[in-house]
Amino acid sequence: MTKKISRRKFLLNLSMWGGLMASYGTGALYVFRYLLPEKKAKQLRKIYVAPLNGIESGKTLKFRLPDGNEALILRLGDKYTALSNTCPHLGCKVKWRKQESDFFCPCHNGEFNKEGVATAGPPATEHKDLKTYQLKTIGESLFIEVEEA
């Protein structure tokens, strides 16, 4: 009898305190969310690069971005890739080698595959890949997306 009562009482206490904790806890969670600084969603801006057929397959087009950096736009068949031409190792300019089908940095023989992933040289040991940019196709035109200043 007493056991039953005490179990009931326990359950009741649990639901009361548990309920209070759950509800006020949720409120506290909101407060945490309120105080958490928001990561600024990056504003992207499209910039016209070239007509789709303006780049030959197997070649790259050097494109100057508004922030002064340069992107290499590589076309392989119908696939377009945009990569920064700045080597993540020490900042030399990489270039596309058609034969080897890779990007090569002449300063310390760094190599990157066609996706910009470091495969040899100091960038590979440091696991630093080339920065990529998003490309967009609208109609027959190719656009590159960069962060709004």
Partner: protein, 349 residues
């Protein structure tokens, strides 16, 4: 194991747990079982809500002429849950003023202010004043058109006080006209000075209540029983129910009527209709029908009378024992304020 820990803690924090139990089990009179006897506890709970939400709002609020409005806009429109906290803060302030007023009325009409509880009443009226000032300064901090011009009117009103008015106005708005100084002043008052004053007064108020014990009030059917019940857990639960209900209510109000943001304050354009917040409607209407200086002096006098009413009441009762004239005067004053408030609320301007 558990005993060891308890011992370790108690050695370092030598609290007498028995005393604590005894204190929290302070007997409260039976009539407090009735729900409308929590009107004193309600503003206390709301005050805690105000402190919490206020501190949170202060994380993003910037008290400067150029950024105040924008920071409020930022809180309302951009920060996650900012609108909710701001709305709860706003509604809590309104509830707080209403409950303080109701509490005051209850205490007045039940004569609970009579000797030996005069000081309790006086700290209470001061708390009412501080609550109203918190409302005014908080509203001004939003720095939208109406709150800006409300503050301007307040400055002009302060100016109308004879002799020291000029000085008061300058002290209040921190210069000739509302500018950066005004906002920082209001901010310091709203977020620093007034809350601290409030904490001190609440402390005094509660200490006085505890020292005197809650005034006994007996209903006919309970006459002579002198029953009491312990504060914890009985009354604590009651207050907890009250508190959670209030929180629900505040959140519902925040959802249904979120705090809005009017036009940005523009010192060059006076809005067609200036209106203060509703709790100042009566002064505003009074001001319109009696003229500035008289209204200020009479309002000040009114609050002074209220402050010292226990002594006036005692004086009246000395000459006319058993007289209920205080109740009549109170009723008259309350109805007067109610009429002025409603008048201002329905009047176009």
């Amino acid at each position: 194991m558990f005993d060891k820990l308890t011992k370790w803690v108690l050695e370092r924090a030598p609290v007498n747990t028995e005393e604590l139990k005894h204190l929290s089990a302070e007997p409260v009179p039976n009539h407090l079982k009735r729900w409308w006897w929590c009107l004193g506890g309600t503003p206390a709970y709301l005050f805690i809500v105000q402190v919490v939400t206020g501190i949170l709002l202060a994380f993003y609020y910037v008290p400067s002429f150029d950024h105040a409005y924008d920071s409020v806009r930022y809180i309302t429109e951009e920060v996650p849950f900012g609108w909710w906290l701001r709305s709860v803060h706003k509604w809590s302030s309104i509830f707080m003023i209403m409950s303080v007023v109701l509490h005051t009325l209850r205490v007045f009409f039940t004569g609970a202010y009579r000797a030996p509880r005069e000081f309790t009443w006086m700290t209470g009226t001061l708390l009412l004043g501080v609550t109203l000032m918190l409302g005014f300064t908080g509203y001004s901090l939003v720095f939208e058109q109406l709150s800006y011009w409300g503050a301007t009117v307040a400055g002009n009103m302060a100016q109308a006080v004879p002799v020291v008015g000029e000085l008061m106005a300058r002290m209040l708005i921190g210069g000739e006209k509302i500018a950066n100084n005004t906002l920082t002043r209001f901010y310091v008052l709203h977020a620093g000075v007034l809350p601290v004053a409030m904490v001190v007064l609440i402390f005094l108020h509660i200490v006085l209540i505890r020292v005197h014990g809650v005034s006994q009030f007996e209903f006919r059917d309970e006459k002579g029983t002198g029953k009491t019940f312990p504060f914890y857990p009985d009354h604590f639960y009651t207050e907890l129910i009250m508190g959670v209900s209030l929180t629900i209510l505040l959140t519902c109000f925040a959802i249904i009527f979120p705090a809005e943001l009017g036009e940005r304050a523009n010192p060059l354009v006076t809005p067609a209709h200036i209106k203060p917040e509703w709790y100042f409607f009566f002064t505003f209407r009074w001001l319109k029908i009696t003229g500035l200086t008289f209204a200020i002096i009479s309002t000040g006098f009114f609050f002074f009378l209220m402050f010292i009413w226990p002594f006036i009441d005692a004086l009246i009762r000395k000459f006319k024992p058993k007289s209920e004239i205080s109740v009549w005067i109170g009723a008259f004053a309350f109805i007067g304020i109610l009429i002025l408030t409603i008048w201002e609320a329905v009047a176009e301007h």
